[in-house]
């Protein structure tokens, strides 16, 4: 089962590398935010599977943090784009 965990983790990292291209060359800020939101969700899944691979339950909180803060960052960025600071 640990082979499956490591395979999922490495494939998620490859997907993140694909998304980093869009993050680097996105023409508008909204493109970059979409790519960043997807990257943090994929990173949360990669961290979860790495925690199951290494059998450490400490890393699970990192995944929870990543998934909740991807939501927060997308919301805050879109609010900033729409009406500026404040």
């Amino acid at each position: 089962m640990t082979d499956v965990y490591m395979a999922v983790c490495i494939t998620e990292l490859a997907i993140i590398t694909l998304l980093l291209i869009r993050l680097a060359k996105g023409p508008s800020v909204a493109d970059r935010i979409v790519a960043l939101n997807t990257i943090s969700t994929q990173a949360a899944i990669a961290v979860l599977f790495f925690a199951a691979f290494a059998d450490r339950s400490v890393y699970l909180d990192v995944a929870l943090w990543l998934s909740s803060f991807s939501f927060l960052s997308a919301l805050v960025w879109s609010r900033y784009l729409e009406r500026g600071l404040l």
């Binding site: 694909l18 998304l19 609010r79």
Partner: protein, 115 residues
């Protein structure tokens, strides 16, 4: 058990990979947002369910995985909607082959009715 886990992981990875390619290749912001929602619903949830099945349903891995799945399932449509709204309001251009722009049509109708 192992076969179910592998099948769920394959489904999730396939959808995540195709969604990432879609985000990379789609022509404008709104279609990219649609691809990112595909990554989250069909890509992340089977992977989290696979982790919950593989570790057993009452371990802390499974609980945390299902919690992350609930988070992404509930919160990411809200974030996506806010992002699409703000990018429309700040005037990010649509793809030139797009055929329908309903808010602009409604505004045009309202202008025509008021003399």
């Amino acid at each position: 058990m192992t076969i179910a886990v592998i099948v769920l992981c394959a489904i999730g990875l396939f959808f995540s990979l195709s969604g990432a390619v879609g985000i990379l290749r789609m022509p404008d912001v709104y279609t990219r947002i649609q691809c990112s929602s595909k990554v989250i619903t069909m890509g992340a949830l089977p992977l989290l369910v696979a982790l919950a099945i593989a570790e057993g349903p009452v371990t802390e891995f499974a609980g945390r995985a299902l919690f992350v799945g609930f988070f992404t399932l509930v919160l990411s449509p809200a974030a996506t909607h806010a992002l699409a709204r703000s990018s429309y309001k700040t005037g990010v251009p649509m793809w030139k082959g797009s055929v329908l722009d309903e808010p602009r049509q409604l505004e045009q109708q309202r202008k025509d009715q008021q003399p």
